[in-house]
Amino acid sequence: MIAHLFMRQGVQILFVLAMAPLLAGWVRQCRAWLANRAGAGLLQPYRELLRLLRKQPVVPHEASALFVATPYIVFTTMVVASALVPMITIHLPLAGAADAVVLAGVFSLARIFAALAAMDLGTGFGSMGARRAMLVGFLAEPALLMVLFTPALISGSTSLVVIVRQLARHGVILYPSMAFAAVAYVMVTLAENARLPVDNPDTHLELTMIHEALNLEYSGRYLALIEWGAAIKLFVYIGIGAALFFPWGIAQGTSSAGLAIAYALFSAKLATAGAGLAVIETVFAKLRLFRVPEFLGTAFLLAVLGLLMRYLFGH
């Protein structure tokens, strides 16, 4: 029984590791189609990762141990985060070990190390990117927590497993509070994953970049780990969103047929979310950096309004 539990956990982690680059490729492909381009194909992120892993990494002379350790730390925290989210089934040994607040903490751990490593070398772009990343992070985190509290209030627990079980049992009901929280969650996801209205994931060497500025000094397998970690982060954020707002289809039982259906459904949710992300990135222009606090302030406002609605309506 215990072996089965851990096997399910292992399969989910492997699924996330294998599928995260595919998700990134799918989003890029959708954006290419929307812009009337042919696109590089769904497998392009795998090719890029393979190429980077084969290359010899270059580490600057001034770099400390922190610089070398950070890619491994970032990648590991993302894998841990992916283990904590009930994406396929609620019977996961690790998902019960930590609740949604811990999950937010795991993400901020990765962010702090990435920022420290970027500041480590003392280059202009690195420290500028680090400061910007921390600015976005410190505004996005309270909004994320407020979003998490609304379903936590409805289900009476901050554990994602309990939230999924409670919400899935209620069936399809449209809570006004959850609608507000969902919109806020989308905004936080865009900011945290350095997607378009906040940061442009496609450009290098521009004064507006945030995520790319953090990775400027990395190459070879270190860069591969960071890029792979970023893909997993997006995957996990979509997984959390699916667990909070679309928990239907996450396996409640332990039968293998149920698990297979859950995998298929989750892949469908991922594909839909990826296509939606591509539409958002095509429709909206990048915000000026000074407008980002407004954007995230709105997300915070929506999340708090959702909480207040929940308190006022009492359901």
Binding site: P176, E294, L301, L312
Partner: protein, 219 residues
């Protein structure tokens, strides 16, 4: 519990969201569009209340509100903005995040103030009272914070929308005569203020209230 509580609650939530969007919006043309959306939500909620109570006069009120607040007043405001040539002006607000935080404080205050009111009456939906009160306070906040006269008028109209929303959702409407009176007042008010704006601008070269006040002092 009222009949159809769930859709009415959803509309109420949307209503509050729209008021926040008004508070946040800088461009006048978009502000007028949001005002039209607010009118749409108001009309839908009146129609729902009419459906729940099968009352003919609420159906008439929904039609009146729809005609007035989705079509007529937005069209008048648009024409006014075009003729004053201010539709794409960007207003300098106080820091948007500060405004949002003040707004949140008002919402919390209104929600708490609504609790004793709802406890005093029977069968009154306390959620609607809270949201309507919050919308009224937010519209007031908008009138205080806006710099130009036209957007202050839109804040005033938003407040009137909130009052009607409160009246129809909580007590299923006011007597027909009063509603007609209010509708007439709104129309006449918009017309008079429109004429007034041209005079203000002729006199002071600007619709910016701050500038007008400064000029008064320097005289």
């Amino acid at each position: 519990m009222m009949p159809l509580a769930a859709p009415i609650n959803l509309l109420a939530a949307l209503f509050l969201l729209v008021v926040f969007a008004m508070l946040w919006q800088r461009r006048l043309a978009n502000l007028i569009t949001i005002y039209a959306w607010q009118g749409t939500i108001l009309t839908l909620s009146i129609a729902l209340a009419a459906y729940a109570t099968h009352s003919a006069h609420l159906y008439a009120s929904a039609c009146l509100n729809g005609l007035l607040k989705i079509v007529l007043v937005p069209a008048l405001l648009r024409r006014l903005a075009r003729r004053l040539d201010v539709q794409w002006d960007r207003e300098s607000l106080v820091q948007v995040s500060t405004v949002m935080l003040i707004g949140l404080g008002l919402v919390i205050f209104a929600f708490n103030a609504a609790l004793p009111i709802a406890a005093a009456g029977h069968g009154i939906n306390r959620a609607i009272i809270g949201i309507a009160l919050a919308s009224i306070l937010l519209s007031l906040l908008m009138m205080i914070l806006r710099a130009t006269a036209l957007s202050q008028v839109i804040g005033f109209l938003a407040m009137e929308n909130s009052l009607i929303f409160a009246a129809t959702s909580v007590t299923y409407g006011m007597p027909m005569v009063i509603e007609f009176g209010i509708a007439l007042d709104v129309i006449v008010g918009v017309f008079i203020l429109g004429v007034f704006f041209f005079h203000i601008r002729e006199q002071f070269d600007s619709l910016d209230i701050d500038r007008i006040e400064r000029r008064e002092e320097s005289r």
